[in-house]
């Protein structure tokens, strides 16, 4: 039997024997966007969650284990938020395929938890029709019971259950109310639904009429409109105050990410140094010690150092999204983004990309339009990420004397830095324009943005999100960078001379540097910079560590020794070219890996890498010839 892995021969027969001791039932959680589905999923599963991608698509698959009071467990699958099951978007396709058992990688669920917003029952009940039509045992969960109560709405649960022919539970996932009924359903004999009637599923007006009739039978009294949401919107969407608040929020996010970057990086560096010293002390001098210290520790360190920033960013996004402000921010940003052919929802990922393109690209998930999403992914790495910062800082400090430009406010160095940020931004905008008017031209899919009511974000939901993100970040990005660093370390150590590591110029790494020298000569770079360019393919800031190793000193961006050494190898024109090269090139294996993952194949990362490399080469060539 396909799609039915746990039992044999059940086929289409109704569930006859229900083995009470079956260890893991699989139950799907589904609901429209903004129904609190994920909050409920988090409530039920807590820390026992796994995030993966459905193979071949960009949709995330959240699975988790819910522990029942009697000690048994149930496997829950959190399906994407959908308004219907008619498979038009990727999300709906996934939801449809999982629920009908058409995905080989996911066991067909035995039952469904249908999560609906009780404060907007009329519309949300529309999804009940296709779900009940599946014939799977279904618990209809009316979420946000606290809101409903507070705003004076009510309904007759028994009448609704009779109408739908399925059990109904009124819960508040945020407050943990009513979860007992959910547990009861999961633990008990799950009956098949027997709705009194179902509408023609393809006909939306008929579905809505059915939903209206059902909620009418259940004496549903909709709650009064959320007062606070109206009041807050009057401020947040005010023609003058709205954009001002928007700017303050954006700057606060930006500023915090930057201000947390240095101390957290220093702290992690110090931690690595201490542990590195300890290893150096404990282990005898050997290739293994050298591998651990120079390869693993440096490799792991360069990744972990970004974790606090990534977490900080997702903390902000989490708060903004869960509170409902993100939708308003997208609304305000939409017109500006529309000028380059993108939409409001692209704004936050692009802002995030100033910290790091990896979480930024992960956060493009909020963009439902696939072409807009890919365009955002493609331009995100042009934003000046924090990994470029140390490289810029080193080269600017080495080549630009620090002089006041506009009094005490703006020095030449700051101006250079700001200029590089502007350069990346301009390139991103130009690229977006080109992409959106050619390969990624959106059809006429209308831009739709639901404005959820404002809510307090819960600590649990944000905490779990941060945990998720750190796991994904460390696993995906960490493995790649670690591998490359170790590989490079190896290449710098062979061929050995009399049992000693070779001079860097004679090593395999040096040979590679010399091989590419003719290609980069026109940009004003020599083979040493060449090695740096190659190592920085793994991660941009690796060039500093690499140059440090090559010059035989500590790779610290503030080291005057390294700055002085750079003067020997780079002309001012070459330095400018190097800056432009770093502004445009996609030197980040983590980004390539995450783009591959998010776009579900090699096509887009390959295109992006080629495009950015060409842009970097041409840009650097022009730069090298502008300044002599």
């Amino acid at each position: 039997m396909s799609g039915c892995s746990d039992c044999h021969g059940c086929g289409t027969a109704p569930v006859l024997a229900f083995p009470a001791a079956t260890p893991a039932r699989t139950v799907a959680v589904i609901g429209p966007p903004n129904s609190g589905k994920t909050t409920l999923f988090n409530r039920l599963t807590g820390l026992r969650q796994k995030v993966a991608n459905f193979p071949g698509v960009t949709v995330e698959q959240h699975t988790g284990v819910a522990a029942l009071p009697d000690g048994r467990t149930v496997q829950l699958i959190d399906l994407p938020g959908v308004y219907s099951l008619s498979p038009r978007s990727e999300d709906e396709q996934i939801a449809h395929d999982v629920l009908t058992g058409q995905r080989a990688d996911t066991a067909k669920p035995e039952a469904v938890l249908l999560v609906l917003d009780s404060t907007n029952l009329g519309r949300h009940l529309m999804l009940a029709a296709p779900i009940l039509a599946l014939g799977l045992p279904t618990l209809v969960i009316l979420n946000m019971a606290d809101d409903l109560r507070k705003r004076g709405g009510k309904l007759d649960l028994d009448a609704l259950a009779a109408e739908l022919g399925a059990p109904v539970a009124l819960v508040s996932a945020r407050r943990g109310e009513g979860l007992g009924q959910v547990h009861e359903f999961l633990a008990g004999v799950m009956p098949k639904p027997a709705p009194k009637e179902l509408p023609v599923l393809q006909d939306v007006p008929k579905c809505r009429a059915w939903a209206g009739k059902v909620s009418g039978q259940a004496a549903y009294r909709p709650p009064i409109p959320p007062k606070w949401t109206r009041r807050l919107d009057a401020v947040f969407l005010h023609p003058v105050a709205g954009p001002a608040i928007f700017l303050v929020v954006v700057l606060a996010v930006f500023q915090t990410i930057f201000s947390i970057a240095d101390p957290s990086k220093d702290a992690i560096d110090r931690l690595l140094q201490i542990s590195g010293n300890w290893i150096a002390h404990v282990l005898p001098a050997s290739p293994i010690r050298s591998l651990l210290l120079e390869g693993v520790w440096k490799g792991v360190g360069s990744v972990i150092a970004f974790l606090p920033q990534v977490l900080c960013l997702f903390l902000f996004i989490g708060i903004l999204e869960d509170s409902g402000y993100l939708a308003r921010a997208a609304l305000i940003a939409d017109r500006t983004m529309a000028r380059v052919g993108l939409q409001g929802k692209s704004f936050i990922p692009l802002l995030s990309a100033y910290a790091c393109a990896v979480p930024a690209i992960m956060s493009t998930r909020t963009i439902e339009n696939k072409r807009d999403r890919i365009a955002t992914i493609l331009i995100a790495p042009f934003m000046t990420c924090s990994a470029r910062l140390p490289v810029y800082a080193l080269i600017i400090a080495a080549f630009i004397p620090n002089q006041p430009l506009v009094g005490a406010f703006l020095s030449t160095r700051t101006a250079a830095m700001v200029g590089l940020y502007a350069l990346g931004f301009a390139m991103a905008v130009a690229t977006a324009r080109v992409l959106k008017s050619s390969v990624l031209k959106s059809g006429r899919t209308p831009f739709l943005l639901e404005m959820p009511s404002y809510r307090w974000p819960t600590v649990q939901s944000i905490g779990l999100r941060l945990l998720d993100r750190s796991k994904v970040f460390l696993r995906r990005a960490g493995t790649v960078i670690l591998l490359v660093t170790v590989l490079l370390w190896g290449m710098a150590k062979v061929p050995a001379h009399n049992g000693h590591a070779p001079e860097i110029a004679d090593s395999l790494a040096g040979a590679v540097g010399r091989t590419i020298e003719p290609v980069i000569k026109p940009l004003g770079f020599n083979w040493k910079i060449g090695i740096g360019l190659i190592t920085s393919l793994a991660a941009r800031e690796t060039i500093i560590a690499t140059l440090g190793t090559i010059y035989g000193m500590e790779g610290d961006e503030n080291s005057p020794g390294l700055q002085a050494a750079l003067h020997h190898d780079l002309t001012p024109g070459g330095a400018f070219a190097l800056l432009v090269f770093f502004a445009f090139a996609m030197q980040c294996i983590s980004t390539i890996a995450v783009v591959r993952r998010e776009t579900g194949g090699w096509k887009w990362p390959a295109f992006q890498f080629t495009y950015m490399s060409v842009a970097a080469y041409v840009g650097a060539f022009i730069a090298a010839h502008l300044i002599r």
Partner: protein, 129 residues
């Protein structure tokens, strides 16, 4: 919506509104309702509604799939749609429909035909209150 139905010709737009929807911000697009000659013609699409205005959705002039998506969000023919807040400049604008608030860009809102509240759906017949 705790808002009572309003005059359909838009004569006293901007007053007697739900207090949560104050005066419409600086918009000049409602030329057609500014003089008595235009009183006859009711705004033809959602774009013509100002903040606080409500109308009944008549039809959606969009490809089938797009129209379906809008209908799933509550934009069903016959539904009462109220224009709400907007981004600066009036685009996109939030519309209240079927218990939800959905933001639409002007280019989309233009495709949603509306008729005045109350009275049978006789498309754009001259009609006075």
């Amino acid at each position: 919506m705790a808002k009572r139905p309003r005059g359909k010709t838009g004569k006293n737009r901007g007053s007697a509104l739900d207090k949560n929807f104050g005066l419409a911000d600086t918009e000049t697009k409602m030329q057609l309702s500014g003089n008595s000659a235009a009183l006859e013609s009711f705004p033809a699409s959602l774009v013509d509604l100002r903040r606080g205005d409500a109308a009944i959705l008549d039809g959606i002039d969009l490809p089938r799939d797009d129209a379906r998506r809008l209908m799933e969000l509550g934009f069903l023919p016959g539904a009462r749609v109220t224009a709400g807040m907007s981004a600066p400049g009036g685009d996109p604008r939030v519309f209240q429909v079927d218990g939800s608030e959905i933001a639409l860009r002007r280019e989309t809102a233009r495709r949603l035909r509306v008729r005045p509240e109350a009275g049978p759906a006789r498309d754009r017949d001259p009609r006075r209150g």
